[in-house]
Symmetry: C2
Subunit: 315 residues, 2 copies
Amino acid sequence: MPAPTLLVLDADPLPRLGRLTGRARIVHTDAAGLPARLPEADVLLVWDTAADVVRERWAGAGARPAWVHVAGVPVDRVLGLGLAASDAVVTNARGVFEEAVAEYVVALVLAMAKGLPAAWEAQRAREWRHREVLRVGGTRAVVVGTGPVGRTVARALKAVGVGVALVGRVARTGVHGPGDLDRLLARAEWVVAAAPLTEATRGMFDARRFGVMLPSARFVNVARGELVDEEALAGALRRRWIAGAALDVTARQPLAPGSPLWDVPDLLVTPRASGAFVGRHDRLAAQFVELWERWEAGRRLVNVVDKARGYVPGY
Amino acid sequence: MPAPTLLVLDADPLPRLGRLTGRARIVHTDAAGLPARLPEADVLLVWDTAADVVRERWAGAGARPAWVHVAGVPVDRVLGLGLAASDAVVTNARGVFEEAVAEYVVALVLAMAKGLPAAWEAQRAREWRHREVLRVGGTRAVVVGTGPVGRTVARALKAVGVGVALVGRVARTGVHGPGDLDRLLARAEWVVAAAPLTEATRGMFDARRFGVMLPSARFVNVARGELVDEEALAGALRRRWIAGAALDVTARQPLAPGSPLWDVPDLLVTPRASGAFVGRHDRLAAQFVELWERWEAGRRLVNVVDKARGYVPGY
């Protein structure tokens, strides 16, 4: 029996894939080569940063991979209609990024509370500018999204003394439903978006929701840019409806040099850095090899995405 | 019996001192007026930022206050020979600043791990610059200083997943002695100075100690500037002996616009902001009123500084 074909799209080097030597025929491709290669692939491995092309190129005749693994957490960028309607199993990298993303959220929250961006402006100007800082302990956060990222973010914020309310798609033990969201937003110093991008969440942080927040509130998005109406956020910051925001993701990535977001007052923009931790390639490859071994042995895959919902259910 | 005289030096407004109405004759003074006012004072209340003048002006004839309260944690700036040799009791603000300082240390550690200063440079340049970040969980820190600040810093770092070794003046349960310091420095990603300034600690972070640290190490000082040989630190950063540093205190404060420290690579300088949290005036005044009430009732004061050692002992 010939080894199955693993098609790898535009990946950063994953040294551990060497473990599949003799067990997989590994074919690398770029976006342009994808449509021609798809029919021969048994398995497709995709970085989520390269995932748009899968959604765009999936349509067409011929055999498709039975399994698509996204080496990232959000899967909306691969999940076009063609893939959603197909029999292919989609898995993601749940378990690899959560702690890093949670650390990044805590870093942004503390940096805003302690006024670090202003401190560095003052340092550039060689000015010893006295200023007050905010305590984080005893403040309140709302975390929207109850998957592993949202829950890990909530735990990390609690560890620095923040009271956290989790908001999910449905109310359940320890989780508020969407009906509580506005009431919770109205009393939180920190609002963190950690939800998957679905039709229910697209654009959910809009002018009305920023209007409900406290003037002292700061908003953080580490999930997907399209959760946020960016124009409404910029307006809310310019009008001082809220005190600050940090976006590690934006609707268009990379953000163009001409984007008005770069210089909105009290808005920090970082280039999707939360998950870009040193060591992730090893973790991602080890996870993929483990999944491959399950698949090879005919065992049930884990981290399987519910293609109708658009995320891995179970939380 | 006339109300005792409380001499207040250059304080920010402390609304709660109003509670002492009728029980204290409150006299405000500035540095120039201090020597003339000292002989009539029963109690002296000093901001630690205004404390140099007490050390400098204490010498001289006449009655002195029996009790000096420093509304801050470090007391080296009041403790001149005159005061140290006198019968006056010195107290400090232990209990007010620890949590805020610990949050600030975690903020600096996370900001350095996540490369936030570089991210904001990129934002100013309107550039979406991909970069990797470091995990903080699983790294190691050495915290030098086992008073309430050092211990609270250690607890806060542990809460974000950092393994912490505490180093104090003498080895005891849970605390390493000075003999372990170099060995611990040689394997720590984070080195935090949280010790009082005494003859034993002055200049302890010198070229030799920066030389012992890992090339990936980052140094944080939230205690007293004079713990650090600043020229040696600048050299260590320029030669890449260590990866970064953050000074919230410097030997001379405010740092002059011409100081070479402002633009040492990978050095963050902030203006003693760790303790400047919103709400501290209320906490400081409430603490002082409580101490006043003990003193008035002839009860033993707490937070009493050991004037020979230069800090409040007991840890």
